[in-house]
Amino acid sequence: MRNLLKNIILTSAILASSIATQAQNIAVKGEKVYTMEGKYLENGVVLIKDGKVEKTGVNLNIPSNYEVYSAKVVTPGFIDAHSVVGLAGIFNQKHDQDQLEDSSPIQPELRAIDAYNAREALVVFLREMGITTVHTGHGPGALMSGKTMIVKTVGDTAEEAIVKEEAMIAMTIGSSVASKFKSPGTRSKGIAMLRETFVKAQTYQEKMKNKDASKHPERNLKDEAVGKLLTGELTALVTAQTSRDIITALRLAEEFKFKMILDGGAEVYMVLDEIKKAGISVIIHPTMMRTYGDSQHASFETTGKVADFGIPMAFQSGFEGYVPKTRVVTFEAAIAVANGLDYEKAMKALTIVAAKILGIENRVGSLKAGKDADLVLYDGDPFEYTSHVEKVIVNGKVVSDKRK
């Protein structure tokens, strides 16, 4: 009996301490709390329990066992809607650059999860800058470079970081493909190769429909992956910068009836009608992207035009061969706001709209009861050059309290 009592006491002590470190209850107070569920709250409070948002509001009663943090501004963790981070590493050496396989221009079977390094220094950097969710994977440069994934910028393994293991298939239409492969050497050839790929996948799919399994073709990972575009199970993330390449992408999507999201879009301001009519969302190029090659006509004002046209839009860090090895979407949005993008729309593009475009709005993108408790605390306007990130909370845990 005495032993049993001892055991019970010991067990409950262990339980209590593990709860304290793992599922801390937190109350975040903010002079301005952007819940992204309606107008921001003035002097708002976010209660966090078991890694989720428990409640938001003003004048909330904060239970005594909640750790309280205060900040000038509070936002949901920002979402980087397209990156290669984790596949591309900080060193920029062969051993940490897995964002583009150049053995063949069409390899949709490659999976981001097989190359994602959750402990990558750039992932840590983004986390400390308040970027909590990243859509990453094989990058632009191949006709089909691989399957992307969505991660939180936490976790020691890819498995721990996953929000969505297979998100989209990354495709590129434009002159950058010809610069990396012997064939396609031209735009038209690239599209012919893509069409052949889709036609082949259609045939494969037809054969797989046969009720007699003995008549099925041998399993083919490439056809299987492209097949997921044909069935709508996966979305195509099509990187296209020039207006002609954007229109070509729409033509391809119409022919093979796949869902697409436009990525990049340096000249999207020239074809807004077509994009809107096709019901396509845009993950816009970094505002500060260099203006050369296919992107030479990029403009600081594009984001404002896209958002004002009513086209769903998110920000991305994109891909750089040199520096900066990753961009920070907060910085990109700031320059967009300074050049005409509405402030609220910018905030949405970094949170709830990005979450919707990526299909993860049930988990992230706003501060709503039941959603993941991913929050960032700032000492001022998040877009202002001179403001700092003071704390980052992911899944209800403080993952950074460095002033950044």
């Binding site: 900080i90 060193f91 920029n92 750039l122 040199y322 520096v323 090895k325 300074a338 050049n339 050059y385």
Partner: protein, 437 residues
């Protein structure tokens, strides 16, 4: 010269001088003269391309014949000085060897390049145009003014005689960019040995020149390479040294100690690790703001805090664009991020202006708003270190070279259809991508 041409020339001279001679007054703005405390309700008076006076609205007498512009609510500060840029599509030494002291970038600059318009849109008025970092010494740099409508490079230089005057500095580099296959050096040790040999040779050349005491028959045969290095040894030509890693920085301080040249450290990603040593050597640092660390091994420890750490150590700190690495249109941003990460506001503003002018030995001409200095200034919509602030106007030597309200100018700020020609200075024009890493 016939009479007709003479008359024509006289007219041109007269009219342009007439324009320049017109006194211009800008009143009502908050003025950051940089040479002193900010002035609320300030007045700036400009005449003949020079600053006539700067002061408080009530204290300054406004000349009767002046053109007065009321810019109440706006901000004026000196035109920005960029110590390290690759605008203008120039180039430097080629792949024939690692050291090119005789190569001048001013022989290759395209004055019509749209990159100059981009820089004016960013409020930049003075630029040190440099050849790349793929060589231990890639050539002579050019100090230029972004004057209105230049027709030739002569219209942009600070000097009036580019054949006989020193028109810029000397670009050098250490670390990995200049480590390449033959005929380049493959190791850091060999790199330094090559540089020392060149400097020692120049020392001998200099002694022979001095020993000749003007006797032409005793002068050594003219050597363009050594001539330029002698200018470096004499402190007349500043060395602009690309460097990232702490040990490479120490190597430069060692070289400086041995040969006694004037040097500015550029980029200085790991400068924060040896801030004390840099301060003790009295060497200025021109740093770069990159939005994330890495991109190459020697820049992995790059941090936003470098400016603040160096400032506290007592180092003269400036920022540069390294355009196309960062964008001339956003130069103010570089220092704003430095301020965010610990620099004082005062030093952050100096790091865009007077600190950089000092690094180029041009501080008598530019970098502050003071009587007698060149009338290079920018009019801003607000606080210089705010993301929401726009450069409304850029003025060089009393002439407006950028106006945000003019769509033909503004497009060089925003970009858009058929604005930029798609040029990108790769930074290592004669290098393959593999070498770059």
């Amino acid at each position: 010269m016939n009479v007709k041409t003479g008359l024509f020339l006289a007219c041109v001279l007269f009219s342009s001088q007439g324009l320049m001679a017109q006194t211009q007054v800008f009143k009502g703005a908050k003025i950051y003269p940089i040479s002193g405390e900010p002035i609320e309700n300030g007045v700036l008076i400009v005449k003949n391309g020079k600053i006539e006076s700067v002061g408080k609205g009530n204290d300054i007498k406004i000349p009767k014949d002046a053109v007065v512009t009321d810019i109440s609510g706006k901000v004026i500060m000196p035109g920005l000085v960029d110590t390290h840029s690759h605008i203008g599509n120039g180039d430097g030494g080629d792949g024939s060897g690692p050291l090119h002291p005789d190569v001048r970038i001013l022989d290759a600059i395209d004055v019509n390049s749209d990159t100059f318009k981009k820089a004016r849109a960013g409020g930049i008025t003075t630029v040190n145009i440099m050849p790349g970092s793929g060589h231990l010494m890639s050539g002579q740099t050019a100090y230029v003014k972004l004057r209105k409508d230049p027709r030739t490079i002569n219209d942009m230089l600070f000097v009036s005689d580019p054949i006989n005057e020193i028109a810029g500095g000397m670009k050098m580099a250490n670390g990995t960019n200049s480590l390449r296959g033959k005929p380049f050096s493959g190791t850091r040790g060999k790199s330094v040995a090559l540089v020392r040999e060149l400097f020692v040779k120049a020392q001998h050349y200099k002694s022979k020149m001095e020993a000749a005491k003007g006797d032409k028959s005793k002068l050594p045969a003219r050597d363009l390479e050594l001539e330029a290095i002698v200018q470096v040894l004499d402190g007349k030509r500043v060395v602009h040294f690309h460097t990232h890693r702490h040990d490479d920085i120490m190597t430069i301080l060692r070289l400086k100690k041995e040969f006694g040249f004037k040097v500015v450290l550029h980029h200085v990603s790991e400068g924060w690790k040896v801030a004390k040593e840099i301060a003790e050597a009295g060497v200025p640092c021109s740093i770069i703001t990159i939005d994330s660390p890495g991109g190459k091994m020697e820049a992995v420890d790059l941090i936003f805090e470098t400016g603040g750490i160096l400032e506290k150590a007592g180092v003269l700190v400036g920022y540069h664009t390294d355009d196309g690495i960062t964008d001339s249109r956003l130069f103010l941003r570089s220092a704003a991020i430095g301020f965010r990460a610990g620099m004082s506001e005062k030093k952050a503003l100096e790091s865009l202006t007077i600190a950089n002018a000092k690094m180029l030995d041009l501080d008598k001409r530019v970098g502050t708003l003071e009587k007698g200095k060149d009338a290079d200034f920018i009019i801003l919509s607000g606080n210089p270190l705010s993301v929401y602030t726009h450069v409304l106007q850029t003025w060089v030597e009393g002439q407006k070279v950028f106006d945000y309200s003019n769509p033909d100018d503004k497009k060089y700020l925003t970009g858009g259809p058929d604005v930029f020609r798609g040029e990108f200075y790769s930074h290592h024009d004669d290098l393959s991508e593999g070498d770059m890493k």
